[in-house]
């Protein structure tokens, strides 16, 4: 069964990878987002992730379920980190196993793209040379009313 989480605990890529795979799967795709040491030429010291935790958890589970439906695999694991992260720390990790590679790649890619569009998470970049600031993001498109 698929698994997802939004957490303040550090992410271990190996543990995320270990959640997928079964004897009928020939392909494993994995993606990790990592805090960079610079952004548009400015030296970065770290990143602070704020989330609407309860909704982010539901939304991530929804994104994973959509990817599972499209790819025809239930072997998906996705986790997003919150809190203050240092350069080089993993902010998001996604693992998918599937019988063949096209579905595995497509599902991993779908999940990271939807996270960037919809997951209620915000990041404040901390710089070496000036005050921290919230990064510009994407306005989520409404996906049906509350009853939908």
């Amino acid at each position: 069964m698929s698994w997802s989480d939004v957490t303040k605990d550090p992410i271990d890529p190996g543990a995320v990878l270990a959640r997928v795979g079964r004897p009928g799967d020939g392909a494993v795709a994995f993606f990790a987002g990592v805090v960079r040491d610079e952004n548009e030429g400015r030296p970065v010291s770290g990143m602070e992730y704020e989330g609407y935790d309860e909704m982010a958890r539901d939304e991530l589970a929804g994104i994973v379920a959509e990817a599972a439906g499209r790819a025809g695999t239930q072997r998906i694991a996705a986790v997003h980190r919150l809190g203050r992260l240092a350069v080089g720390e993993v902010s998001v990790a996604i693992a998918v196993s599937a019988p063949h590679r096209a579905e595995a790649f497509a599902a991993a890619r779908y999940i990271i793209e939807e996270i960037k569009k919809r997951l209620p998470v915000w990041k404040r970049e901390h710089y070496l040379d000036r005050e921290a600031e919230w990064l510009e993001g994407s306005l989520p498109v409404e996906r049906g009313n509350r009853g939908a």
Binding site: Y49, W122, W134, E136, P140
Partner: protein, 90 residues
């Protein structure tokens, strides 16, 4: 959530990130609204408070009870209404 069919409704408003800082740092605030008020009514009320509140975007993404919802969504007693600034996860 069942709507009460008389009198005002109280909803909990949640603010995050840049929005939260705009109004001075509180994440939650309770707002009383007339019966059958919509998300758009709520946003207009919040902006009318003046100060940092007036700088909240005129149209924002909103989640009602943790699902994205349109401006014409009617609010009910006890709803959790979150203003969602442009998201930047990943």
């Amino acid at each position: 959530m069942t709507e009460t069919n008389s009198g005002p409704v109280d909803v909990t408003v949640l603010l995050f990130a840049a929005h939260r800082e705009l109004v001075g740092g509180a994440r939650d605030t309770i707002v009383s609204l007339p019966e059958r008020a919509t998300v758009d009514t709520l946003l207009a009320r919040l902006r009318a408070r003046g100060g940092g509140w007036s700088q909240l975007p005129r149209r924002a993404a909103v989640a009602v009870n943790r699902r994205y919802a349109g401006g014409d969504t009617v609010l009910a007693e006890g709803d959790e209404v979150a203003l969602i600034p442009p998201v930047a996860g990943g």
